[in-house]
């Protein structure tokens, strides 16, 4: 694999850009792997990368039913932040943010991580107090966070609706190290970096069956043949339940819901930050891509679904929210909108854990937050698979937490997956 550096860019400029290597190989599946990761999205590829890099594991395959970047890696709003409050979550997401800060150098691939600040507006004194509590807890744990009063907010983002909003803006809770990154680059970067460490990335390779004995998985049947594996990791956001049932393991504390995102036509620079309408409450988040499009998203479609297409009431809701905080967007045209299927877990937190089978490991339940979590998700999942015990930061992110009564419910919304936005 040719490394990306100034010399190679210069050299290939003289040879018509014809001598670059493939970004990753297209290997034939082997009969047997030490570790098989099912799911070639951000989480699966990051896991394979860190297994090879941090734990020196060899003979790893990543199975992807479609193509790299064709699933939820290409269906998100690219926001990266670590404003979490619950024990376990804030350490985890802060670690993820730290990995993001060095990810482009680490992967030798520009993921275009832009720490442009994540600005959560608040609209009432009680919402301000709630934000102050959350951001103070973050600060006590070493994550940056600050509160902006109205004047500071107006100076930084002059064109929000400060005049006649239905819910007047009072200020904002801000995480300056947060921002966004380029989703395609991230998934391609992980694929390329994992491949360069010897990981086999098998595209168009759908898992069709799981052959198991009483206590472990013996082999995985796929559309490209049967493969034996010593260890198996599931990282298939949205469809985890199906794979889980294929392995004969019954039910999971997960429902599949769809979340829409929207992109408008390109306009000149308008918004320097990621702006969120309400802290963890009414949901609307907007940023401007490097191409100039406004990228935004809202709530779930509110009913369970595996369809990767959104429904119109949420288009209307999101457009209304956009108009409520940025009326200047009124004449902009929507170019595309799409929906991704996501694992909504019963308490809004993820799973990186062991399973009832001795050689199966689970990475699932990412709710809204999978994109920003992907580096740390791969990091801790690789750690779990390699060392066979969870790191202390994810020790409670398991399937047993519900029975123990130690749910990690960031929003306090209770056991209703659609409410954990």
């Amino acid at each position: 694999m040719t490394r990306f550096n100034a010399w190679n860019v210069f050299k290939n400029g003289f040879t018509g850009q014809k001598n670059w290597d493939r970004q990753w190989r297209d290997p034939e599946p082997k009969k047997e792997y030490d570790i098989i990761i099912v799911g070639g999205g951000l989480h699966g590829l990051a896991t394979a990368y860190y297994l090879a890099k941090n734990h020196n594991k060899k003979n790893i395959a990543v199975l992807e039913k479609g193509w790299i970047g064709g699933g939820n890696a290409g269906r998100n709003t690219t926001i990266v932040r670590s404003n979490y409050m619950m024990p376990g979550n804030h350490e985890f997401y802060e670690h993820s943010l730290k990995l993001w800060e060095n990810l482009s150098h680490d992967l030798n691939y520009n993921v275009m991580f832009s720490q442009r600040a994540h600005v959560s507006l608040f609209h009432s004194p009680s919402a301000r107090d709630g934000a102050a509590r959350r951001y103070n807890i973050m600060r006590l744990h070493g994550t940056d966070g600050e509160l902006w009063d109205l004047d500071t907010l107006k100076n930084n983002i002059p064109h929000l609706n400060y005049n006649n909003a239905r819910f007047p803006i009072l200020g904002a809770a801000v995480q300056k190290r947060a921002g966004n990154a380029r989703h395609d680059s991230t998934v391609w970067g992980f694929a390329r970096a994992a491949d360069s460490l010897g990981v086999d990335i098998l595209q168009n390779c759908e898992v069709t069956g799981v052959k198991r004995s009483q206590n472990n998985i013996e082999s995985i049947e796929t559309s490209r043949g049967t493969m034996k594996a010593k260890k198996v990791g599931f990282a298939v956001a949205g469809h985890t339940s199906l794979l889980w049932q294929m392995a004969g393991l019954g039910n999971l504390p997960i429902e599949s819901h769809k979340l829409q995102a929207f992109v408008t036509e390109s306009i000149k620079p308008l918004l320097d930050q990621v702006v969120v309408y309400g802290v963890g409450g009414a949901h609307f988040y907007i940023s401007q891509s490097d191409k100039g499009s406004m990228v935004f998203g809202g709530d779930l479609d509110w009913y369970k679904s595996y369809a990767q297409r959104g429904n119109l009431p949420m288009v209307q809701d999101s457009a209304e929210a956009a108009m409520a905080i940025m009326p200047c967007l009124g004449r902009i045209r929507l170019l595309r909108h799409w929906a991704g299927v996501m694992d909504m877990s019963m308490d809004g937190s993820f799973f990186i854990c062991k399973t009832p089978l001795s050689n199966l490991y689970l990475n699932a339940g990412w709710n809204y937050g999978g994109f920003k979590a992907s580096p740390a998700s791969g990091w801790y999942f690789a750690d779990l698979i390699a060392n066979e015990q969870p790191h202390k930061n994810v020790q409670n992110h398991n399937l047993e937490r519900f029975e123990k009564g130690i749910n990690i419910d960031e929003r306090g919304a209770g056991p209703d997956p659609k409410l954990h936005g």
Binding site: Y303, Y306, E403
Partner: protein
């Protein structure tokens, strides 16, 4: 838009309704073990295909309905009231 045929109000947009959840859950008896209750409250089959689910006609008759719907195509197979004797109750009143 999904169109739900409410047995009392007729066919309406799904935006009039609130999605409840899985209608096939059977809650155990009150003295059942913690493990049984955990399974009923937190664990889901998460069907990809036709599932039974509840919808509340929030901006209509406010009845809870049991709907059979495909979670792939959103096609609705059947709609009925959750309360088994709701027909009797509404008839007696009229």
């Amino acid at each position: 838009m999904i169109r739900i045929k409410c047995p009392y109000c007729g066919e309406r947009d799904h935006s009039e309704f609130t999605y409840g959840g899985d209608a096939s859950i059977k809650y155990p008896s009150l003295d059942a073990s913690v493990s049984e209750w955990t399974k009923a409250i937190f664990f889901r089959e998460n069907i990809r295909g036709i599932q039974k689910e509840t919808w509340h006609h929030t901006n209509g008759c406010r009845l809870w309905l049991e709907v059979e719907r495909s979670t792939i195509t959103h096609e609705i197979k059947s709609v009925k009231a959750c309360h088994p004797q709701i027909d009797k109750i509404t008839k007696n009143k009229s």
